[in-house]
Symmetry: C3
Subunit: 149 residues, 3 copies
Amino acid sequence: MKFLFENHSFATRECGQFVDVTDDLRDLVERSEVSNGMALVYSPHTTCAILINERESGFIDDFGTLMESLVPLDGPYGHDDLEARTENLEDPHEIPNGHAHCRHALIGSASQTIPIRDGELMLGRWQHVFFLELDRARDRRVLMQVMGE
Amino acid sequence: MKFLFENHSFATRECGQFVDVTDDLRDLVERSEVSNGMALVYSPHTTCAILINERESGFIDDFGTLMESLVPLDGPYGHDDLEARTENLEDPHEIPNGHAHCRHALIGSASQTIPIRDGELMLGRWQHVFFLELDRARDRRVLMQVMGE
Amino acid sequence: MKFLFENHSFATRECGQFVDVTDDLRDLVERSEVSNGMALVYSPHTTCAILINERESGFIDDFGTLMESLVPLDGPYGHDDLEARTENLEDPHEIPNGHAHCRHALIGSASQTIPIRDGELMLGRWQHVFFLELDRARDRRVLMQVMGE
C-alpha cells in the first residue's frame, strides 16, 4: 500500500468563494504512483465544505443566492449570542458566523472521496473539486490523501 | 489488498428519479471476495447525487416536492443565462439545468462509502443505495469500487 | 493493512440530538495502531446523519430551527400516509417520520471519512464527529472502521 498526504494552506477572500483544488489533487495522484485506490479531500474546519461540481461562475453565484435564501447571513443565530452562550468562549473577538456553521451542516460534506483506476482520478468531464468558504475571508487548510497500490 | 472496480452505464427517465444500485453493489462485494474493507459508490456527473435511504415511493415523491420548494426548477439561474455566461459554452444546444447544479451542491454528496465486515456490506435493514438524477432524462454512469482484504 | 471495526449501540433521546462520538473514534484509532490511513464513521439508519461540526449548544439549537423551517415535522408527507402507501408496511404501529427521511436526504451524509496521519486523526481544532438523530428517541447504532498501515 502507498500513502501520500499533503496539507495545502491558503487564504480565502470572502464568504461563498469556491477554491478549485482539482489541479493540486491530480498532481498528488500522479506523484503517488497509485494505480488503484482512492483520493480523499478533507476540510479540517467547521465552517467550510468540500464539493464537487462544475466550474462556472453563474452556478457559483446561483449557489450563493440559494444559501442566502435558505440560511441568511444575519440570522438570528444562538451561536452568535455571546451574552447567552456558555461554551467555546475563548476568543473575546469572535466574529458572528452562525450562518456558516448551519450552511456547512446543511450541505453535510466535510470531505469528498474519488476513486483512482489505472492511475487516473475518475472525475467526470465537468467535475471539479472545490473547497467552499462559508464564513468570511480566513486562513484555511485543505488536506489531501491518496491511498492505494 | 484487493481492488474491484466497475462502471455501470444506464439511462435515466426523468428529474428526481432514484435509481437503486444496491443489488449491483452487493453483487460486486461478493465477487470481490473482500472480507474487510469498504465500498465506494461514485457519480462522475455534476447534476446527480448518491444517497442512502429507504426504498419507498412516498418518500421519493416527498423528496421531489422538497427539492422543488427549496430549489425551483424554473429559477432564475445565472448558469442558464447563456447571453450573460462566459464559461463552458461548448454546447450551443445546452438545456437549462441550473436547478440541478444547485440541488446537487445542496445535497452535497457525489459518493457514499459503506464499510465491509466479514464479507458483508454493512447496510442497515432499510438502507438502499441510490443514484439520484437531478437533471432530466440522460445517459449516466455510476462507478463502484470495492477495496480491502 | 490493519482493519479495526466497532459497532456502538446507544439510545437517542429526541429529534435533533447530536450524539458526540469523537472520543470513541479517537480511542479506536489509538487502539488500531494505524499510522497512515483513514477512519470511516457510518450510520446504518435511514433517518440519521453523520456530521462534523463544532460542539456548541447554540449552533445545535440553530440547526434544529433551520431543519424545522426547511423540512417541517408535520409535513404533510406521502411516506406517512399509510392509507395510500403500498410499500414497506410490515409495521402496523409505524410512527410517522417522513420529515426525518427528507432531512436525512437533504443533509446527504450517511458517513464521514477522516484521514489518519502519523497515528493522528486529522480533525481540526473545533471539529467533533456527531451522530445526528433526525427521527424520535430510538435505539441506534454507529459503525466505526479504521483502515491503514
